[in-house]
Amino acid sequence: MTALKLTNVCKSFGQVEVLKNIDLTVEESEFVVFVGPSGCGKSTLLRVIAGLEDATSGTVEIDGETVNETPPAMRGIAMVFQSYALYPHLTVKGNMALGLKQAGHPKDEIERRIAEASRMLSLEPYLERRPAELSGGQRQRVAIGRAIVRNPKLFLFDEPLSNLDAALRMNTRVEIANLHRQLSASMIYVTHDQTEAMTLADKIAVLRDGRVEQVGSPMELYNNPANRFVAEFIGSPSMNLVPAELIGRSAGEFVGIRPEYARLGEAGDLKGTVVHVEKLGGDTNVLIDIGADKPFTARAFGQYEIEPGAQIGIDYDPAKCFSFGSDGARL
């Protein structure tokens, strides 16, 4: 059973085409992550799936049913927003209960679901508080709780962790992964964060300018990017694109070398001057000017004393390189 099937979905605001012919399937209990640069239409796509925006054309199927005409509340989805979007006048409990009350569930059923969700998210001590009396992390957990109690077929998360600080983000990320395992529900998750995308996803969809560039498991995208855009977007620090003429190949093409596969040393096909060194403790990022537009980033494991200005050689394994044509397509 497919949880979600998008066929040829387009969305325009007036003259502006924001989504162009999106085709996508989400299988049951799959965790799909949307990534892409800012403004590429991730949130718009999520809103179309939720029914908060109407698709200009194309069909949206949830759980095998076409839901283009179904209002958001009847689609069997739940959404978690970046800004939490809790009802300020209701308590935590009221926030979680509202949707269920609206759907006409019996009282004891509502109580039971809230108790279960608040146990899962350790929200029990806060049930009677209002959102204004909670910390950012607690608010986001309430927002997730509000989604869980609806018992949806499909969860939609729009950058749920981007307002949290780094430590909390890590904890909540693990919590979401656990939730996915416990509930085994289908989830769609929008993020800017590489780590979230790579660690949470069963499947990543890379979007650019309203189009799906590539869909695949995190490792597929990492090991086998379809084009230059995906190659640059997946992986952190991002892949180096070396103009091919610098290593004696036909001009106009690019060779992609991941920072973690570049070896620094005296010898090497590429030579350059160190312009900057970032020491992260566990590893060291070295930025090297090789005569291209952007400096080459090499990631060395461990700690190294390298001074800016030093001459250095870069060696790499040709088997782990990617070649891209001048149009960005993989060769």
């Binding site: 908060l52 209002p71 927003f81 800004s83 009802y87 006048h89 949707g99 759907a103 204004a132």
Partner: protein, 279 residues
Amino acid sequence: MNKARRNPFNIAAMHGALIVYTLIALFPVFVILINSFKTRKAIFREPLSLPDAESFSMIGYQTVMKQGDFFLYFQNSMIVTVASLFFILLFGAMAAFALSEYRFRGNTLMGLYLALGIMIPIRIGTVAILEMMVATGLVNTLWALILVYTAQGLPLAVFILSEFMRQVSDDLKNAGRIDGLSEYTIFFRLVLPLVRPAMATVAVFNMIPIWNDLWFPLILAPAEETKTLTLGSQVFIGQFVTDWNAVLSALSMAILPVMVLYVIFSRQLIRGITSGAVK
């Protein structure tokens, strides 16, 4: 709290300025109040002195109570003001919500059209309004006043409220939609409480001119049973003699209800600002 606000000199200066302003603002009210309790002679001889045993007199209040049906006027003013404010806030907020929330053809044009009324004084249309009221048989009813004041207050209300409603988080409204709330519930339960400060501002802005208006009551509803307080008080101001005792007493009594309404709304205003409802 920053340094400037902790500095004792700054605190003193700030409070000093506020106290001076309060005194200046309250002075006319104070003069009206004390003089309303004095004899006519004392009003003119020593307008600033407090009433004492000799100059104290309730003559003004007695005249007001005897003359005309003061409580009816009072009630009329109250009905007109409260009903007008209610309709201004209700329809203003609804129009503002539609303008700020829904994308439809001519949205901007509609907004501009509704805001146009801010710049055009409604009194220009008095003759046409009077003709309309005569045609509909609304002359000498309170409805005539309520309708006119609602029309007069709506443009500014729509303008201010739509500006505020644009700032209410989209996510919150969308969360409501996903939870199955109707558009009306979203409007009344989620959006209105968040724009309460703006509603209070609109209410205060509109209340005073409506309460004090003489023009439309005089033209549209001058009958005895629909007179408003301001119009009713005019009987004491003659072309040649003015009964100052009565005028000042009537004014003193007219201030009270506005003050009560003001206190109610400003409470709301302050609570709205400090509740920290959004985020």
